[in-house]
Symmetry: C2
Subunit: 249 residues, 2 copies
């Protein structure tokens, strides 16, 4: 049984303030929970309903599993349609970003991404294309937000997300800094080489002026000129796909 | 002034049943409203707050503009953060899909897309890449859903969306039918030619069995093999981008 105070602690994790305070976040759904169990993340507890009990046997027996009623699970859940299983996961202490870990690969840099769905989709897309590191400005939406976690479909368990001062990182790196801008080089004729940072800007405002100054190669996705812009997760995916195509050549 | 019965009619347009009944839907936000005014859609009315009144002068004076209080506008709005302006737009009677209009171009075919954000993003992406027609199975989310309209960022005003029996269309067309499947030809080495249909499946279940049978070319986006799948709007965008790259060669 979960005590009332436990339930309210878990409910409080829907809010960033309390996630910070307790150093915990929630992962919902069998697939995502399984991927977090099989990752380096530390799992504090797993709550599930009777409906999913038979599937629980397949998971590691070392975990602290607790069966609870659907009514209680719904109370804890941050989702409109709660899953049958919720894990309470420790927010990791990321090591300080070591610039040399960014060498010989591509990383995504996000400048003020606000929408949790976009952030989650970018993490899932990065995972698909084998990108390991996402570097976020401090004002990006927090990745432990339940909507971000849900949109990553488990990929958050495999991607390193760093919140940093972007100006510092971009001014000190020797890697090429590719920026999605409107009047850059055509992405289809760009040779991305074997390493670099791909910088994507805020949904409404694009790149901040300071970050724009640190872009070394402005790149454009050519379109038919009807829509004013592409969604930022879509633009990120097209960059990832072009880099992937380059690698496979 | 808006009467009480008018307000409740406008509020009812948040639900598909009443959109069908009245043949109307809502478009919110200055940019989107402007694009619908400049399109072939018929605008029934435009409601705006005093805050946006100066900008209204730039718009066509033939429209039926009405200034209302922010409190009333908030009541009508389907958005969490209401904009300053809402248009009431007629749902068009789309002409029956004429197969020959699909020749010599690419169209997107959607098989059971459920998420309004995905649908909206696909429409916006299609518009960016100059794709004119989107053909939806009858169980796809309705494009006049406020969340779809918002996610299209005005692009809905320029794209023809047809709801049809997909089996009919796909079995009668002579165009190549490209399907996003896991064990198909590598998308990076596919020659898409100059016309075709690109079929994308439901978020959880992918393509229905019947539609899968009608795919003539299975295509795969190669990844690093970590994430189990890509989000459907992301996969659609990568197809659009590859087709665009082919065209520009």
């Amino acid at each position: 049984m979960l005590s009332k105070s436990n339930i309210s602690l878990l409910q409080s994790l829907q809010h960033k303030k309390f996630r910070r305070e307790h150093g915990l976040f929630l992962v919902e759904g069998y697939k995502s929970v399984t991927e977090f169990i099989n990752s380096a993340y530390q799992i504090e507890a797993v709550y599930h309903t009777a409906a999913i009990a038979p599937k629980m046997l397949k998971l590691s027996q070392k975990m602290n599993f607790q069966e609870i009623s659907s009514a209680i699970l719904e109370k804890i859940s941050a989702l409109k349609t709660p899953a049958d299983i919720i894990a309470v996961v420790k927010i990791p202490q990321w090591p300080v970003l070591n610039y040399t870990t960014l060498n010989k690969k591509f990383s995504i840099v996000l400048d003020g991404i606000q929408d949790p769905g976009n952030m989650g989709t970018i993490i899932r897309t990065a995972d698909w294309f084998g990108i390991e590191n996402i570097i976020c400005s401090e004002d990006c939406v927090e990745v432990y937000n339940p909507k971000v976690v849900q949109a990553t479909m488990g990929s958050l368990s495999r991607i390193n997300v760093h919140y940093v001062d972007l100006e510092n990182v971009l001014s000190e790196t020797k890697l090429p800094v590719y920026g999605a801008l409107l009047d850059g080089e055509n992405i289809y004729s760009t040779d991305f080489g074997s390493e670099g940072l791909v910088v994507m800007g805020n949904e409404g405002k694009g790149l901040t002026e300071k970050v724009k100054q640190l872009v070394t190669k402005a790149i454009t996705i050519p379109g038919a000129g009807n829509a004013e812009s592409l969604n930022v997760a879509i633009a990120t995916a097209i960059f990832c796909s072009e880099i992937n195509r380059n690698k496979l050549k």
